[in-house]
C-alpha cells in the first residue's frame, strides 16, 4: 500500500474526448471500477459502479472494512487485495479536495502473473527446507547407527567372552571325565560284561552331554564367525572304521544293515573332529529315522575333494520337508520322541560351509534319502611324521586332573612324560629333560601360556610346542602361535588328533 498526493485532474480534462471515452470504457466496463465516498467516521455517503460485478455485496461494504483503522487524512494504494470470495482488486483510498473515496477495480492479470512467480519461489524454498530437514534426519540416523554399531560390538564382545568362558568351564571337566573313563574302561572292562555295560552307558551319557554343549557353543561360534578349524592328519580308513564302531551297535539294536566302505587308503589333511561331527549327525539321523532296511556309508577322496555319502531306506521326505531340514530347532515330525536339540543338521551344514564344502540331500517320499557331504581338502604329507612312542613329552597344565590324565594316556602310549604346573616349573623341566614335545596349556592360572612359550623359545627350546586351550577362539590361537607355539588344539582333547600333531616335525 502506498500513499499518493492529489490526482492529476487537469491532465484528464486536457485529454482528447475519444481517449477519455476509451479510458472510461476500460475502467468501468472492462475493469469494473467501483467506489464509495466515506465521511471522517468511515460511514458511506455515496457509492457508484456495480459492486456485484466484483463479487462484492451490493452496498460495497467490503470497501468500508478496508478503510477501518486507516488514517482518514492520508491516501493509500493497495495493489492486490482479495476480499472473501471476490476476485483480486486494486484498491485506492483517495483523499480528493478534502473528500475521501475508496475505489476498487479488477486486477486478475497482475495477480496471476505475480502469483505464479511467488508460488514457484515458495515451493522451491519449501523443497529446500524439506531437503535440509531430510539431510539433518539422515545425519542423526547415521549417528544413531554408529551408536548402535558400538552397542552391537560391545554385545558381540560380551558374547565372545561368554562363549570363551563357557568353553573353558565345560571343556575342562568333560576332558577329565572322558579321559578317565577311557582309562577305567581299558583297566576294568575286561573284568565283566556288567562293568563294561555300565561304562558304555556312562560314556554315552557324557558324550551326549558333551555333544549338546558343543552344539550350542558351535552354533554361537558359527553365528559369530569365530569357529576355528584345526586341520590334522585323518586316515580315511580309520575314519570309516571309527564310524562303523560307533554306529554298528545302534544299527544292530534296530535290526538294520549298516554298510561302510571307502575307496582307497589315504591320509587327508583336514579337521577330523569336525568331519566326524558332521558325519555322526548324518549317520545317527539315518539310523534314527530308518525303521527297517539299510543304512550305508561310503567315503572317497578324489581331486582335492572328500566326498561322503550316507544313504538310508527310511521314509524319505517331501520337497518342503527337505527345504526346512537344515533350519535350527526343526524336526520333520515334532511328535516323534527323538532326543536332541534339533541343532544337528543346521550345525552340520554350517560347519560344512565353514569348511568350504556343502551337504546335498536327495530324497523321495517312501523311498529313502541320500545325503552327500563334500569338503575340499588335500592329502597329508605323511613323510614328515615321527613315531610317538619314543617321544619325550613335557605336559604343562595348572589343572592337576588334566595334567595327570595326559600323563597317563601318553605313558600308556609309550612316551616319556614329565609334568609342570607353571612357567617356572616348565623352564626347569625343559632344562633337565630337553623334551621333543611340550604340551602347553594357554591358561596357567594367572599366567598366559603364550608368554611361557615365548620364554621357553628364548631359553633356546626347539621342542615342538602344542598349545592346548578350552577356548576355541581365533584370538587365543593367534596368541599361542605368535608366542612361539607350533600348533593349537582345543579342549576337550581329541587324543588321536593330539598324537597326530605331536608326530609332526
Amino acid at each position: 500500500m502506498s500513499s499518493s498526493g492529489k490526482q492529476g485532474g487537469s491532465a484528464l480534462c486536457a485529454m482528447p474526448v475519444p481517449v477519455r471515452a476509451y479510458l472510461e470504457d476500460v475502467m468501468f466496463e472492462q475493469r469494473n471500477l467501483v467506489g464509495l465516498e466515506i465521511d471522517s467516521g468511515g460511514q458511506c455517503i455515496d457509492r457508484f459502479g456495480n459492486f456485484q460485478n466484483l463479487g462484492m455485496q451490493s452496498d460495497g461494504r467490503e470497501l468500508l472494512d478496508f478503510a477501518i483503522g486507516l488514517d482518514p487524512g492520508t491516501s493509500h494504494v493497495v495493489p492486490l487485495v482479495q476480499f472473501h470470495n471476490c476476485p483480486p482488486t486494486h484498491l485506492h483510498l483517495a483523499v480528493l479536495d478534502g473528500r475521501r473515496f475508496v475505489l476498487a477495480y479488477r486486477a486478475e492479470s497482475a495477480y496471476e502473473e505475480l502469483g505464479v512467480q511467488q508460488q514457484l519461489s515458495n515451493e522451491l524454498s519449501l523443497q529446500n527446507s524439506e531437503k535440509n530437514q531430510t539431510i539433518q534426519a539422515l545425519t542423526q540416523a547415521q549417528s544413531l547407527l554408529r551408536d548402535s554399531e558400538r552397542e552391537l560390538k560391545r554385545a558381540h564382545d560380551l558374547k565372545s567372552l561368554f562363549i570363551s568362558k563357557m568353553s573353558h568351564e565345560f571343556g575342562t571337566p568333560i576332558t577329565a571325565v572322558l579321559g578317565r573313563l577311557r582309562l577305567l574302561e581299558q583297566e576294568l572292562s575286561q573284568t565283566s560284561e556288567v562293568v563294561s555295560g555300565h561304562f558304555a552307558v556312562v560314556r554315552r551319557g557324557v558324550l551326549h552331554l558333551h555333544q549338546l554343549v558343543q552344539s550350542v557353543l558351535d552354533e554361537a561360534r558359527l553365528e559369530q564367525g569365530t569357529l576355528r578349524l584345526e586341520p590334522g592328519n585323518v586316515v580315511l580308513s580309520s575314519l570309516c572304521e571309527d564310524l562303523e564302531m560307533l554306529f554298528l551297535p545302534l544299527a544292530q539294536e534296530k535290526k538294520l544293515d549298516f554298510e561302510t566302505a571307502y575307496e582307497s587308503e589315504q591320509t587327508l589333511w583336514i579337521d577330523g573332529l569336525r568331519v566326524k561331527q558332521i558325519l555322526i549327525n548324518l549317520v545317527s539321523n539315518a539310523i534314527k529315522y530308518t525303521p527297517s532296511g539299510k543304512v550305508s556309508l561310503y567315503l572317497r577322496w578324489r581331486a582335492g575333494k572328500l566326498s561322503v555319502s550316507v544313504q538310508d531306506t527310511g521314509p524319505g521326505m517331501s520337497l518342503d520337508q527337505a527345504n526346512s531340514l537344515f533350519k535350527p530347532f526343526r524336526r520333520l515330525d515334532e511328535k516323534t520322541k527323538v532326543s536332541g536339540a534339533g541343532l544337528g543338521l543346521a550345525i552340520s551344514l554350517e560347519l560344512a560351509e565353514h569348511m568350504g564344502g556343502a551337504i546335498e540331500v536327495q530324497s523321495t517320499l517312501g523311498k529313502g534319502s541320500r545325503f552327500v557331504l563334500t569338503l575340499p581338502c588335500e592329502l597329508a604329507d605323511t613323510k614328515r611324521m615321527r613315531d610317538s612312542k619314543a617321544l619325550k613329552i613335557l605336559v604343562v597344565d595348572d589343572d592337576p586332573d588334566i595334567r595327570e590324565l595326559l600323563y597317563l594316556l601318553l605313558v600308556r602310549d609309550g612316551a616319556e612324560v614329565s609334568q609342570a604346573e607353571n612357567g617356572l616349573e616348565a623352564e626347569n623341566a625343559w632344562r633337565i629333560m630337553q623334551p621333543d614335545v611340550i604340551l602347553l596349556d594357554m591358561q596357567l592360572g594367572a599366567e598366559n601360556g603364550a608368554h611361557v612359550a615365548r620364554s621357553l623359545r628364548k631359553l633356546g627350546a626347539v621342542s615342538r610346542i602344542v598349545a592346548l586351550s578350552a577356548s576355541n577362539s581365533d584370538e587365543t590361537s593367534r596368541q599361542a602361535l605368535s608366542g612361539g607355539c607350533d600348533a593349537f588344539l582345543s579342549k576337550p582333547v581329541d587324543f588321536e588328533k593330539l598324537k597326530s600333531l605331536m608326530q609332526e616335525q
Binding site: L114, Q118, Q119
Partner: protein, 164 residues
C-alpha cells in the same frame, strides 16, 4: 452498532496463515498449498460477551520472513497481530518474532498472540517449550494450533479479539 477492529496475520510463507483464516471464517480446510498474493481481507464477528460483539477485519498478509515495503503499509492501522509459525520448521519461529518486532516498530506496541501451527504434524515437531521463551515475553499468549483439525483456532481469534 458492532465495533470493528483490524488485525494482521504475520508469518513466513507456508506456515498456514490463510488456512487458519479459512478454518476460522468458513470452518474449512484444503491440503493444497496456495501462496497468498498481496493481501486477503476477511471479516468475522465474534461475541466477546453477552453484550459486546466485535467485528474482526482480518488482513492475511502474503508470507515473508521479513516485512516487505508493501507490508509495512498494510500493517498501518492494525489494532493487533496474530503471529504464526510452523511447528515443523524452527526457523519460522524466529521469522515470526522478527516480523512482529518490525510491525511494532512502525505502529507501536499492539497486542499479539503467537500460534505455533501444524500441531497435527507433531511427529516432525521441531519447536520445544524452551525455544518459546522469547515468544512468551513478546506475545500475550502462545497457542499450539492446527488449521487442519481446528485445534485452538477459534480460541486464538477470540483471545486476540478480547485484547483489542
Amino acid at each position: 452498532m458492532t465495533e470493528a477492529r483490524k488485525i494482521c496475520l504475520l508469518g513466513s510463507f507456508a506456515v498456514g496463515k490463510t488456512s487458519l483464516v479459512r478454518r476460522f471464517v468458513d470452518n474449512s480446510f484444503g491440503e493444497r498449498y496456495l501462496t497468498t498474493v498481496g493481501v486477503k481481507i476477511d471479516t468475522k464477528e465474534i461475541a466477546l460477551s453477552e453484550l459486546r460483539r466485535l467485528k474482526l477485519v482480518i488482513w492475511d498478509l502474503a508470507g515473508a520472513s521479513t516485512l516487505s515495503t508493501p507490508a509495512r503499509a498494510y500493517v498501518q492501522g492494525s489494532h493487533g497481530f496474530l503471529v504464526v509459525c510452523d511447528g515443523t520448521r524452527k526457523a519460522t519461529l524466529e521469522s515470526a518474532l522478527g516480523l512482529l518486532d518490525s510491525a511494532r516498530a512502525i505502529i507501536g506496541m499492539k497486542p499479539a498472540i503467537l500460534l505455533v501451527n501444524k500441531q497435527d504434524l507433531n511427529e516432525s515437531w521441531e519447536i520445544d517449550q524452551d525455544s518459546l521463551e522469547e515468544a512468551r515475553t513478546k506475545c500475550s499468549a502462545v497457542y499450539s494450533s492446527s488449521a487442519k483439525t481446528g485445534a485452538n483456532v477459534e480460541r486464538a481469534f477470540s483471545a486476540i479479539g478480547a485484547l483489542l
